[in-house]
Amino acid sequence: MLSQRTIEIVVGLFLLAAICALLVLAFKVSGLTTFFHSGGYRVEADFDDIGQLKVRSAVKISGVTIGEVTRIQLDPNTYQAKVTMWLNSYMNAIPDDSSAAILTAGLLGDNYIEISPMYSHTFLHNGSEIKDTKSAMILEKLIGQFLFKINGGNGDKTSTEKSTGDKK
């Protein structure tokens, strides 16, 4: 039988190991960093369509992650999606005429925001807004436009073709 003091020390180590495990689960496995947005600044952008963009999606420049989306709201007046993103403080020299586009990682991957820097000499700061935005690419809309284009805007032709095709 071990002495009470040894047992207490071992149990203390056990508790410490469990707390370390919880921290690993929180930060390494689930990437819980939203509580620690201390060093950085917030920027807003209005999009017509955000697609599958979610809170905590990445914000990138040239493919390098520099921040994440912290809030997505619908503007009740313009019916646009107002996306608030948090950018790391070491990226404090992004020109304020830069454009933001919602892109997709791979064919079926998650959406993220890509910022393309422009040439202005004033920079984005806390609370500023990116004016030039490009919406997410939605596959259904693209297919719809494509079908519309190859038919030269003549919608009747497709419907007749389809119906004859079905009969065969």
Binding site: L2, Q4, I7, F14, K28, V29, S30, A58
Partner: protein, 260 residues
């Protein structure tokens, strides 16, 4: 014919009586105000006996389960060209399901059976009655520390199991099969949510720890005071708590996915 109905009724009444006994035992153990100066060292001893001594089996099985899930997941995902998604696959299945359930099953086998056997033997050798003769409440002296030890140990063991399983998958996926470490962790972080996945797993493990310890303590305390009775009590502890864990897991998962 009437005899069969009567035996069925007797069985039903016996069952309800057992549930009642278990409930009374639990309320008498936990609702009475403990003496912290005397009770705390006993609880620490039980956390040592039930938690620290189970650590080896938990770590080894966590590592191997993580490695096996990583290996199987990699070869299945590679067919779809989606082997980058190994991290999320392993992390979600371990944190949500495998971690709490497997830890609870191992805990029932390693610690639950030990609790039942110890209390059963104490009863068979009349240590519990002699405590009562000395005006020491055996519920406070023997049962309560074992309950609290189990309640505390089980979530902690689950956390450690989860982390070792994730690192087991990391070993296989990144170090052996050559996945990109950055993609492994960042895809995992993108799809695992702390509140929805990690915290729900911890809630599950708390519930399982409660159920397993309760069954073990009850089976030990009401064991028949013979050697065969103690053998029965340990067997029933492991069987009942395993079944209870699996059934409860289904109920809890339904509640968590259905958003309560």
């Amino acid at each position: 014919m009437l005899n069969y109905i009567a035996s069925l009724g007797r069985f039903g009444m016996h069952l309800i009586q057992q549930y009642g006994q278990a409930g009374v035992l639990l309320s008498r153990t936990l609702l009475r105000l403990p003496n912290p100066r005397k009770g705390f060292p006993l609880v620490v001893q039980q956390v040592y006996a039930e938690g620290v001594l189970s650590l080896l089996i938990i770590i080894v099985s966590g590592l191997f389960i993580g490695m096996v899930v990583g290996l199987q997941g990699y070869h299945t995902l590679a067919k779809f060209g989606a082997s980058q998604e190994l991290g999320p696959l392993v992390a979600l299945s371990v944190v949500r399901e495998l971690g709490p359930v497997v830890t609870a099953l191992l805990f029932a086998g390693r610690a639950g059976s030990a609790i039942a056997a110890e209390i059963g033997l104490m009863k068979a050798t009349e240590q519990l009655s002699s405590m009562e003769m000395m005006a020491v409440d055996p519920l406070q002296r023997v049962i309560a520390p074992r309950c609290w030890g189990g309640f505390i140990s089980m979530p902690l063991l689950t956390l450690i199991f989860n982390v070792t399983a994730v690192y087991g998958a990391y070993l296989v996926g990144v170090k052996w099969l050559g996945l990109d470490a950055g993609a492994f962790w960042s895809n995992m972080q993108a799809s695992v949510d702390f509140n929805l996945d990690v915290v729900n797993g911890i809630i599950k493990s708390i519930a399982f720890g409660f159920v397993v310890t309760w069954i073990a303590v009850y089976q030990g305390y009401y064991a028949e005071p013979t050697s065969a009775g103690i053998a029965n009590a340990t067997t029933r502890t492991v069987v009942y708590s395993s079944l209870a864990v699996l059934g409860l897991d289904f109920v809890l998962t339904t509640m968590m996915i259905g958003g309560w």
